[in-house]
């Protein structure tokens, strides 16, 4: 039934998640949970196993650190019942140089990235983002692949990846492809990731210019971003903002304007035309507009006008 994979290799088991929420009626969906059904968890022992299971047993929901998935299960917003446990796949955890490309495995946790001398050297803005995510417990489990695949426009690493023009490496049982980050998302929480595919790694080329990261949440820590920005003071500069659109966005017109020497006030105006945030539970569109523009000015100021200040939590 499980193809060539032996039973031992592929102990799959039924997992029934405990439900904490018990509001229910026949016609209500949002607050209550989908029905409590058996949940299956597939346990691969290698990436090849995992990809075969995806092909043969799919559709399966990959599970990495599960920090997003548990919340979704608990909130009852997840109907899927069959999961593929990626956590044991150590090969997806590597952080290494491949030629002049920094490759970060999809399963690298925030703690792994914070501690990695390579990431500290080549992508300090990713370290800054990782430091601001959740608490230590979430940083020990949450993965870069999970943040990207989860695809929340408020995901804190996404502006970093966008500003760095990362390449996303996708694998399926049959194939491997490299997708530029700018082409990865196709809409709100939608991406090019196919049902048989996994994110396996992210490839970064070295960047020129100082890197900058700021997150503005609802409280001093443990908060989803209201606005998050990553930028590189190169020529031209690269600027990406999260939580202001259905997906993370780069600001090409603003970048171009700053690149050709426009004033920061002019650049702020252009930024306001480039983003179209919405009101939601965490913030208002107006707040996001103003703060995004203010962050832009701060980035510019920090990079070119004053000596650097260390990134701090907001």
């Amino acid at each position: 039934m499980l193809g060539s994979i032996s039973n031992r290799q592929a102990t799959w088991f039924v997992h029934k998640f405990r439900r904490a929420d018990l509001l229910r009626s026949a016609d209500e969906e949002t607050l209550m949970l989908g029905s409590i059904s058996n949940r299956q968890l597939f346990q691969p022992r290698s990436l090849t196993d995992a990809l075969s299971m995806l092909r043969d047993e799919g559709p399966l929901v990959p599970m990495a650190g599960c920090t997003d998935l548990y919340v979704a299960l608990n909130f009852g917003t997840l109907d899927d019942t069959r999961f593929l446990n990626l956590w044991p796949l150590d090969s997806l955890r590597r952080i290494e140089m491949r030629g002049d490309v920094l490759s970060i495995g999809a399963l690298a946790t925030y703690t792994d990235m914070r501690r990695s001398p390579l990431v500290q050297k080549i992508l300090p803005m990713l370290v800054a983002a990782a430091r601001e995510i959740g608490g230590v417990q979430v940083q020990n489990r949450g993965t870069l692949g999970g943040n990207v695949a989860n695809g929340s426009p408020a995901g804190d690493t996404l502006p970093v990846l966008a500003a760095a023009d990362v390449v996303v490496v996708l694998r399926s049982a049959a194939d491997m492809r490299r997708v530029p980050f700018s082409e990865y998302y196709t809409g709100y929480r939608r991406s090019v990731l196919g049902p048989g595919e996994l994110i396996v790694a992210f490839e970064f080329r070295k960047l020129h210019g100082r890197q900058w990261f700021r997150k503005v949440g609802t409280r001093a820590a443990q908060a989803i971003s209201k606005v998050v920005m990553a930028a590189v003071a190169g020529d031209p500069p690269r600027i990406a903002v999260g939580s202001v659109a259905p997906t993370v966005v780069r600001l090409p017109s603003t970048e171009a304007a700053l690149g050709r020497g426009a004033s920061i006030d002019e650049a702020r105006q252009i930024l306001l035309e480039e983003i179209a945030p919405i009101d939601d539970a965490r913030s208002t569109a107006e707040y996001r507009q103003r703060v995004a523009a203010n962050l832009l000015a701060r980035f510019w100021n920090d990079s070119f006008i004053t000596k650097s200040r260390r990134t701090r939590n907001l």
Binding site: H15, R18, R19, A20, L22, L23, C66, V291
Partner: protein
């Protein structure tokens, strides 16, 4: 023998013993937990015997011998299991686990390691933190099966054979645990930090523990324990004898006392909690840790509609499910939850509960808010109970709903009760709460200046870290309920009355509880539902609420809308204050809905009309200082604004207009308000920090300062205590406290030792069990120390007299003294006083406000235990930061559903939101109360939102008129 049976609940929690503690902690620890009549040896034997029984009931789940790890869950052959290998607290184990178990579930339910707590069960709070391969993780969000091959460390494994780990000792010495529910998690995070960084900075400590929330707000203490020193500067003893910002630095007595008070032997010395060791080793037994043989698990089905009539409920499928033992709905359970809705919102009055027209049942029809209980199921395990709930079919007729008080009073608004939406008073009349003095119309007419404004406060959830839970069991006709209550006596009486039983057929037990914060000095609907399910099923039942249920199904601070009109002379003397206000009560009148604070001002003409209004939101109730934080914020913002419009320094304005006589007419028993304000202003350097020209700071980050002040009721009253002396010279104090986090057990031990004239080590405290303890007023209203403390002194006096007359007891003899004093103050008002001074930093480009300096000055009379008292003030102030800046239970206007259903979205403060809070006690003596003690518990919370809001306004030059002062609101105000 009966006592022994009851001890089964301690299964597994005493497997780790610490025979050789150094210092105080050991002796006090032993004393505090030994039940009377049982030596520690008996106790352990009893526990062991129970373990055998329990283990025999189900196959061991461990490949190797699992010392004392009972499992009461029958393995279900249909559920897949996996064999895993883990190193658990240093011991290699092979375990056979159900694949659906989370790691927390494995540890708590199946290995008896209940030191790991569940605060949210969804990765938001950190109470469940364990170390997995040395790294902190949330065990609630891990599958047990994932632990295969890993090393797991839990709080139970931290202490070594030769005693507590240094960090545990520091947690005790610095008063880390208040309620203690978050303690294991904080400890595990701090431990992981210490292993890589032996000398962490304050920032390191905060970063390491930022994933661990503490609703008691004891962040300062956890940081101090982790870095190994106190945070506040130590002040010159002469100028300020009792600055206790740190306080926890050492357990050694502070030898100085303020001039007004004589030095006492035990009272007044900073003392770590006598049960501190239990709280840092995971041994403290909270209700959720109670496990009885044959116990069933219950869950509640709740309304998804804000307002609906139930046409029918079909429970036949649920009832037919294997493993389901009882199902309750309104049809077979007509119990009225008396404390759930009372005319006038008054408490503890049987007559009122009897006459109230608008009754709240355990299960209601119509349902009136999202979360109103509809049905409950008890089954052999949680998983089955939850599945059964989903088999219950409810046919709702959905009704229109209303969420906001002012809309609910509109003539065409939907009526939540036939009598209308104005909540009924104690006489069942639809009348607002009115208070008048002088003639406000004349006062305003005569005033040279008048001012008007509107302030609002949000619905704030209690969010105590321990989700509500109850365990009920019947032995014959006698009901025992384990429940987190701050008042075992009142809770018992409430349960008995609601179920139609005599009081003595009900026993309420609460050994430890994870935070009170309001309406826990009474029964909960969970107590009643668990009791009824247990009766129906003929077996013990544990009912646990999820974090979300706790948020939406219980209660929070009533939101308010406050309109003020104030008249003054041109020199700034108050002439008249008028308040017209609306409080959103949810659909049941659980509490008063009042708004406090007007009486802080000396003013000849006042009129307040507070209208409590029914809405279809979650029920409003008490939360730490029920009517004060929102009222103090409203009126003290108003007055701060008046001062600024009159170009007066707000401190000068307060000194000119603050209360000097209670309610403008009755003298206080003593009066130190002015001293609190002046001392605070001096320590805080008010003149330097307050901006005469608000908003004038340069650059994007602006600073500003704010002040608030209070007089807080500190009444005397009835409570009881029993003290027994046995031939060994040991004194046992029986008091009906439970210790909600304020350290009441330690307080009572200190008072008893002082009154008896013996060292603390000769005193044992027995608490938290109505079958063993006398009446206590219960821990609410900041009055336990005063009222129960007075009873302890009275009993001690009697006992000393008996000893003098009869000589000490010999052999099997015992001397017993009991007292139930009802002290009163005639013609005067007894009050605690205080003032808070806050500096904030506001980033006007991002809207971010941060509290950067905090000085809290309190006169709470004599401080019985300066360590715990300072923690209380710090915790209250920390909670106030959340109320001021973040917390808000929001609703979807379209559906009437709450959007804020957990810690994460409610944004209760984290380690990073709370700066050092410096606490200064001015200890005055009015000759009343136990050694002159006055109230402490709620006052920190009452003062902090007002001071913070005023500071933000001072920083940015805009009055902040709505709580919480979110980042959006700050930018909005500046737009």
């Amino acid at each position: 023998m009966k006592n022994r049976l009851s001890l089964r609940v301690y299964n597994g929690t005493f497997r780790y013993r610490f025979p050789h503690f150094a210092g105080d902690t050991m002796s006090t620890r032993r004393r505090s937990t030994d039940p009377p009549g049982l030596s520690r040896r008996d106790f352990l034997e009893t526990t062991a015997a129970t373990v055998v029984v329990a283990a025999a009931a189900a196959p061991a789940i461990d490949g190797q011998a699992l010392a004392g790890a009972p499992t009461l869950v029958q393995p279900d052959p249909a559920v897949p299991r996996s064999a895993i290998r883990v190193t658990l607290n240093g011991t290699a184990r092979r375990l056979d686990v159900e694949d659906r178990w989370t790691l927390a579930e494995l540890l708590r339910d199946h290995l008896g390691l209940t030191g790991t707590k569940i605060g949210c069960d969804r990765g938001e709070c950190g109470a469940c933190t364990v170390l997995m391969d040395g790294k902190p993780v949330y065990s609630c969000s891990q599958l047990a099966a994932w632990a295969d091959g890993c090393s797991i460390e839990t709080v139970e494994g931290v202490a070594k054979k030769d005693g507590l780990e240094a960090l545990q000792r520091a947690f005790v010495a610095h008063d880390g645990p208040q309620c203690g529910f978050c303690t294991s998690g904080q400890l595990m995070s701090a431990l992981a930090l210490h292993r890589v960084n032996a000398r962490p900075t304050v920032e390191d400590a905060r970063a390491a523990m930022v994933g661990n929330l503490c609703r008691c707000g004891n962040y300062n203490r956890y940081v101090e324990a982790t870095v190994g020193h106190s945070l506040s500067p130590s002040r010159d003893a002469a100028a300020n004898p009792r600055s206790l910002g740190g306080g926890g630095q050492s357990a050694s007595p502070v030898a100085t006392a303020s001039a007004a008070l004589s030095l006492l032997h035990t009272v007044g010395h900073p003392t770590p909690k006598i049960d501190g060791v239990e709280r840092v080793t995971g041994q403290a037994t909270y209700t959720g840790d109670v496990k009885l043989p044959g116990m069933l698990y219950a869950r509640v089905l709740r309304s998804p509609h804000a307002h609906a009539r139930i046409r029918s409920i079909d429970v036949s499928k649920a009832r037919a499910m294997p493993g389901v033992k009882a199902v309750l709905t309104r049809e077979n359970c007509e119990v009225v939850w008396g404390a759930g809705a009372i005319a006038g919102g008054q408490q503890y009055n049987d007559d009122i509960k009897r006459i109230t027209k608008q009754r709240r049942y355990a299960f209601n029809n119509p349902v009136r808010f999202v979360g109103d209980p509809v049905a409950a199921v008890a089954a052999v395990n949680r998983h089955v109970a939850e599945e059964a709930l989903l088999q219950i079919l409810v046919d709702y007729e959905v009704l229109p709903f209303v969420l906001e008080p002012e809309e609910a009073l509109a003539p065409n608004a939907v009526k939540i009760w036939p009598e209308g939406n104005l909540a009924l008073n104690v006489r069942n009349e639809a009348q607002p709460n009115v208070q008048t003095r002088g003639n406000v119309g004349n006062g305003l007419a005569a005033a040279e200046r008048t001012f008007e404004d509107r302030f609002t406060t949000a619905f704030e959830h209690n969010a105590q870290m321990e989700p509500r839970v109850a365990v009920a069991t019947w032995e014959g006709e006698k009901l025992t309920v384990y429940t987190p209550t701050g008042g075992i006596a009142n809770c018992r009486h409430d349960i008995a009355r609601d179920l139609g039983l005599p009081d003595d057929r009900v026993r309420v037990v609460c050994q430890y509880m994870g935070g009170n914060f309001g309406n826990k000095n009474q029964n909960q609907d969970a107590d009643l539902i668990a009791a009824m399910l247990a009766k129906e099923a003929g077996a013990p039942v544990k009912l646990e609420l999820s974090r979300k249920e706790d948020f939406i199904g219980m209660h929070g601070r009533w939101p308010t809308i406050q309109y003020y009109t104030v008249g003054t002379t041109s020199a700034g003397t108050l002439q008249a204050i008028q308040l017209r206000a609306y409080s959103g009560m949810g659909p049941y009148r659980k509490n008063t809905g009042n708004i406090g604070g007007i009486d802080l001002y000396q003013c000849p003409n006042i009129e307040t009309v507070v209208t409590p209004v029914y809405t279809n939101k979650t029920v409003s109730g008490n939360l730490r200082g029920p009517e004060y934080p929102q009222g103090f914020y409203g009126i003290q913002s108003m007055m701060d604004d008046v001062a600024s419009k009159l170009k007066m320094d707000p401190v000068e304005f307060i000194l000119k207009n603050m209360t000097r006589l209670a309610r403008n007419e009755v003298p206080y028993t003593n009066y130190t308000l002015e001293e609190c304000i002046r001392r605070g202003a001096e320590i805080f350097e008010w003149k330097k920090r307050w901006r005469q020209d608000p908003g004038s700071g340069r650059g994007p980050v602006k600073r500003g300062a704010g002040v608030s002040f209070m007089a807080f009721r500190s009444e005397l009253g009835r409570s009881s205590a029993v003290i027994r002396l046995d031939a060994s010279g040991q004194y046992t104090v029986f008091v009906g406290v439970t210790d909600v986090g304020g350290g009441a057990k330690t307080t009572m031990a200190l008072i008893a030792a002082e009154a008896l004239g013996v060292p603390l080590s000769q005193v044992t405290v027995v608490w938290g069990d109505t079958d063993r303890c006398p009446y206590s007023v219960g821990e609410s209203g900041s009055r336990t120390t005063i009222m129960t403390g007075d009873a302890v002194i009275e009993a001690a006096r009697d006992l000393r007299k008996q000893i003098a007359e009869k000589g000490p007891p010999k052999g099997a003899e015992m001397l017993v003294a009991s007292a139930t004093p009802t002290p009163r103050v005639e013609g005067k008002v007894r009050s605690a006083f205080g003032a808070h001074f806050v500096e904030v930093e506001v980033d006007v480009e991002l809207g971010r406000a941060r509290v950067v300096k905090y000085v809290a000055v309190h006169d709470s009379g004599r401080i019985i235990n300066p360590l715990a008292a300072a923690s209380q003030i710090k915790g209250g102030a920390a909670m106030g930061i959340g109320m001021a800046l973040h917390e808000d239970l929001r609703y979807d206007r379209q559906t009437g559903r709450p959007l804020t259903t957990g810690f994460y979205y409610d944004r209760i403060p984290t380690h990073r939101d709370v700066p050092d809070i410096e606490v200064v006690f001015i200890e005055s003596d009015d000759g009343l109360g136990p050694y002159g003690a006055k109230s402490v518990g709620e006052s920190g919370k009452a003062l902090s939102p007002a001071a913070i809001a005023n500071a933000v306004s001072n920083a940015i030059g805009r009055r902040m008129k709505d709580l919480p002062i979110t980042r959006d609101r700050i930018l909005g105000a500046l737009a």
